[in-house]
């Protein structure tokens, strides 16, 4: 941690200027002293962000190793199904692994913008982990999204919408010319691209024709194939996209349709609005949405110029601290704020008792109301503030904060900082100590209210001098840390 010495002789932990802090608040999973250092070394928030847009140039040691912690994430769809069928491993156990895996990546990867955009797209193109049979292909689906998360949206859509996991979730893996299933066609138009009000029921029917022929061997090998015999041939017209569709292999037509929809102005506006709601504010200023939609279309659906314009916009600058962290963001930011290290889990424990930290991450999210990608409907988890400002969320988050601040739970497979490690010097006034904690954990100085709140929580006066043997450090540090984690600052981004 970089310190500077004030005239009074007390070391004050440095924090980022407000503008830079706002960038990392919105485009990372939460402040850490190391992240602040990276931003300073890069020459400021915008430069840090620019570097993040080319993930392969950001060193990311250790993130790949998380995959080895969860062997089932590397199994084939057929293997996963056989294991479920024979009672070796249930689908939800595999999905729990996947959820743990993405939370670990979000917590510890140096490629924060990549993880953040992957989550945003994976939620936009939502395949619920609970969707029937989708567990067989779900991790591979996430990989495909990550691959395209900072690239062109038309390619992302082609790869995701026609992926076996999506086909399974929305019944398109069993859709044939005799019985075209409209489920995927409808959500493609309603949720993934142009949005409600832009298409007719006939567009849905015609899109469903185009999407016939894709096949997943449901409840068998789960192999992904294309069945020309099942494809509905014949001319189609979906929202002005016309195709002879004469070939029994309808894949080029399907890809062409998805590409057309990706480039549709209504899609541009819809995606721009989603980015603005997630990264700027729920009010989603229309001028900004329109500007970003234009940039999206001008750059062949490349998302990077859109993001660059977004972070440089006045609307972005004016929206500091106004977004509420959702369930996953709270859990990840809490791990980051506390500087805990989750280590490789041992043998899986049955039940929710004293499991390994790496396996209990989804449970922590559950307390706030939602595990990653567990939203039950195809429209994706809500990204607006009101959805995450509910009493059950507040209490669930607070429970996690309390349990982790006191190093109570999880207790296996996790390394907490020792209480004395939080003390930047041997002796200091409690008020100054709270300020140091606030700067270290939350990236901002402590206000008077925060100091008073911590004094009350830990039953100590701001002027008391704390040190390694002081009862607040030895017995009640958790009371202080949890009060900071329960703050409006920690719950916002």
């Amino acid at each position: 941690m970089s310190d500077r010495t004030t005239p009074a002789g007390r070391a004050t932990t440095r924090v980022l200027p407000a503008g830079d802090r706002h960038i990392v608040d919105r485009l990372s999973y939460g402040h850490t002293p190391a992240l602040a250092r990276q931003v300073r070394n890069a020459g400021g928030g915008l430069r840090w962000f620019e570097r993040q847009l080319t993930p392969r140039k950001v060193k990311d040691r250790g993130t790949g190793a998380y995959l080895t912690w969860f062997p089932s994430l590397s199994r084939t769809p057929e293997d996963l199904y056989q294991r479920k069928k024979s009672g070796v491993e249930e689908n939800w156990e595999v999905m729990n692994d996947y959820q743990s895996y993405v939370i670990l990546r979000r917590t510890y990867s140096q490629r924060q913008v990549l993880e953040l955009m992957t989550e945003l797209w994976e939620n936009h193109l939502h395949v619920p982990v609970g969707a029937d049979a989708a567990f067989t292909w779900r991790k591979r689906y996430g990989d495909v999204i990550r691959k395209h998360a900072l690239g062109r949206v038309d390619r992302l859509l082609q790869a995701a919408v026609l992926h076996p996991a999506m086909l399974l979730a929305l019944d398109a893996g069993i859709s044939t010319w005799q019985h075209p299933n409209e489920n995927l066609a409808r959500e493609l138009l309603e949720l993934h691209t142009v949005g409600r009000g832009e298409y007719t029921e006939d567009d849905v029917k015609q899109a469903a024709q185009v999407l016939t022929g894709y096949h997943v061997d449901l409840w068998g090998t789960f192999a992904f194939s294309y069945s020309t015999a099942d494809h509905a041939v014949g001319p189609v017209n979906v929202m002005g996209w016309k195709h002879a569709n004469a070939d029994a292999d309808g894949r080029p037509a399907a890809r062409s349709l998805v590409r057309y929809l990706a480039h549709h102005p209504a899609t541009a506006e819809r995606i721009a609005r989603k980015l603005v709601v997630k990264l700027v504010s729920d009010a989603a200023p229309q001028t900004l949405v329109r500007r970003l939609a234009r940039i999206y279309l001008e750059h062949d659906t490349d998302i990077r110029p859109v993001l660059r314009a977004l972070v440089r916009s006045e609307e972005f600058r004016d929206a500091r601290g106004q977004k509420v962290r959702d369930a996953g963001e709270d859990v990840v930011a809490t791990h980051r704020a506390l500087g805990v290290r989750v280590t490789e889990p041992g043998e899986k424990a049955r039940g929710t008792g004293n499991g390994w930290a790496a396996h209990t991450l989804p449970t922590q999210c559950q307390r706030l109301g939602l595990k990653p990608f567990d939203w039950p409907r195809p429209d994706g988890a809500p990204i607006t503030d009101d959805a995450w400002a509910t009493p059950s969320r507040m209490l669930g988050g607070s429970r996690n904060h309390w349990l982790m601040a006191g190093s109570y739970w999880p207790s296996r497979g996790i390394v907490y900082r020792k209480p004395t490690a939080w003390l930047p010097q041997r002796r200091m006034r409690f008020g100054a100590f709270v300020d140091h904690l606030s700067r270290t954990m939350l990236g901002v100085p402590a206000t008077r209210r925060v100091v008073v709140a911590c004094c009350r929580a830990a039953d100590v006066s701001a002027s008391d001098v704390v040190h390694a043997e002081h009862p607040v450090i030895v017995h009640r540090l958790g009371f202080v840390l949890t009060t900071l984690l329960d703050s409006p600052t920690h719950l916002s981004r």
Binding site: V324, P376, A389, S392, A457
Partner: protein, 431 residues
């Protein structure tokens, strides 16, 4: 949704006993309705103005009726539980897994109950338990996940993604999250999602400020710290934290209710029902509770009366529900329970002594208002064939609609089930 303290607006100048009762109701309202809504500062008689009445005309601390919705997730095979032994096709279609006629309980000449339903016989004989067979979604939907969504949205053709229980608790102007409670360990069910605030928790005991439970003095300090941190905080989070402190107070009577979880069968269902009973006994204005029993998706090893998944699940279900109805104290007369699945299962057993996804199913209703000890609905007759389903003859919304209409007098069926041509089956008495 909740009983009115009085039919007309109280006048502050009145000193009649009626008014005092009203005032007691209004005091509850000021805590629940006002502090939440933030319309008027709390505390003094000044708060009992017309704004209060406008804000929350029907708020009171007591529910008129309580509806418990039990989702049998994974799709229960209703024909194993309420067996159509009078239909010969049932035995032809299930040579290995059919429940033998001789073993059935409460036979009425056509239907009989699975022997493991025995704990529910007192309810059946007492006329408090009824079944509606061949009920379900109007059209076939064999995806668990899409069917649950359709079933719980229950507003076909509507653009709004909003659940029927959310609409049910949303028909009054009370905006308290205690009205609709999910005792669930997964994501909030679609039925509860919507504009009306509802409360989803794994356990009633979780609705408290986390802190050192072993040291009351330290716990108070920790809570003081938290309150200081949030005092005067504006915005959605500030409002949420005020609601949180309110919810902790509102649910406190339920936390103080003794848990009889030990009397229930072990597992999630017993734990959730034990908490539901605490919530109901506390009588804090909860109208709707929703909870789940899982593991009904028996594609294989459904089994017989000697082995398999069916006996285990029916055991748990019947014994948990029997315990629940004996655990409601003086609130039992208010409580109606309905149990349903997203769809039913196929008529013919498969190669693995299981059943694949079908269509029609049985719905169970028990408790207050039920004209029980009998079966409702129309039996369509079974037919053979690998794809043969139990045909749906009763739209499941007719069953739920009748509960809404007869147990929640202030609510119109059309507000909860838009577009439904309501035709009650008559399994409930008009309350």
């Amino acid at each position: 949704m909740t009983t009115r303290p009085a039919p007309s607006a109280p006048t502050l100048s009145s000193t009649t006993p009626t008014c005092c009762a009203e005032m007691a109701g209004m005091a509850a309202l000021s805590r629940r309705g006002l502090l939440r809504g933030g319309l008027v500062a709390a505390g003094t008689t000044a708060t009992f103005g017309s704004a209060v009445l406008t804000a929350s005309p029907s708020a009171a601390a007591s529910a008129e009726s309580v509806l418990v919705v039990l989702s049998l997730r994974g799709a229960m095979d209703g024909m194993s539980v309420v067996v159509p032994y009078g239909d010969d096709v049932y035995y032809e279609a299930r040579p290995r897994i059919a429940v033998p006629r001789t073993e059935l309980l409460a036979k009425d000449g056509f239907f009989g109950l699975h022997p493991r339903m025995k704990p529910l016989l007192p309810l059946w004989n007492g006329g408090e338990l009824a079944f509606v067979h061949a009920a379900g979604l109007p059209s076939v939907n064999r995806s668990h996940f899409a069917a649950m969504e359709e079933l719980e949205d229950a507003a076909p053709g509507s653009a709004r993604r909003e659940g029927w229980l959310n609409r049910l608790v949303g028909t009054d102007s009370v905006r308290s999250a205690t009205e609709g409670v999910g005792l669930i360990s997964g994501a909030a069910p679609t039925s509860l999602l919507g504009r009306q605030p509802t409360f989803v928790t794994q356990a009633i005991d979780d609705i408290e400020i986390p802190g050192p439970s072993w040291d009351a003095a330290r716990a108070r300090q920790r809570e003081r710290g938290l309150r200081t941190m949030w005092k005067g905080e504006k915005g959605v989070l500030g409002r949420a934290m005020r609601q949180t402190f309110g919810a902790v107070d509102d649910f406190a009577p339920a936390r103080r209710q003794r848990s009889r979880a030990a009397d229930y069968p072990q597992g999630d269902l017993g734990a959730a029902l034990a908490d539901a009973a605490r919530l109901i006994r506390a009588d804090i204005g909860t109208d709707v509770i929703t909870l789940d029993q899982g593991a009904w998706d028996m594609h294989s090893r459904l089994g017989t009366l000697e082995w398999g998944q069916m006996i285990r699940n029916v055991d748990e279900l019947a014994s948990a529900l029997a315990t629940f109805f004996s655990d409601l104290g003086d609130q039992r007369h208010k409580v109606t329970l309905v149990a349903l699945s997203e769809f039913g299962r196929r008529v013919e057993e498969n190669q693995n002594q299981g059943l694949d996804h079908g269509h029609g199913n049985v719905m169970m209703v028990a408790g207050a208002g039920v004209r029980g000890g009998q079966h409702y609905g129309t039996w369509p007759g079974l037919s053979m064939g690998v794809d043969s389903d139990l045909t749906v003859t009763t739209d499941y919304r007719q069953v739920l609609g009748e509960i809404v209409q007869k147990r929640f007098s202030a609510t119109a069926v059309a507000d909860v089930f838009p577009g439904l041509h309501y035709e009650p089956l008559g399994f409930l008495r008009q309350s």
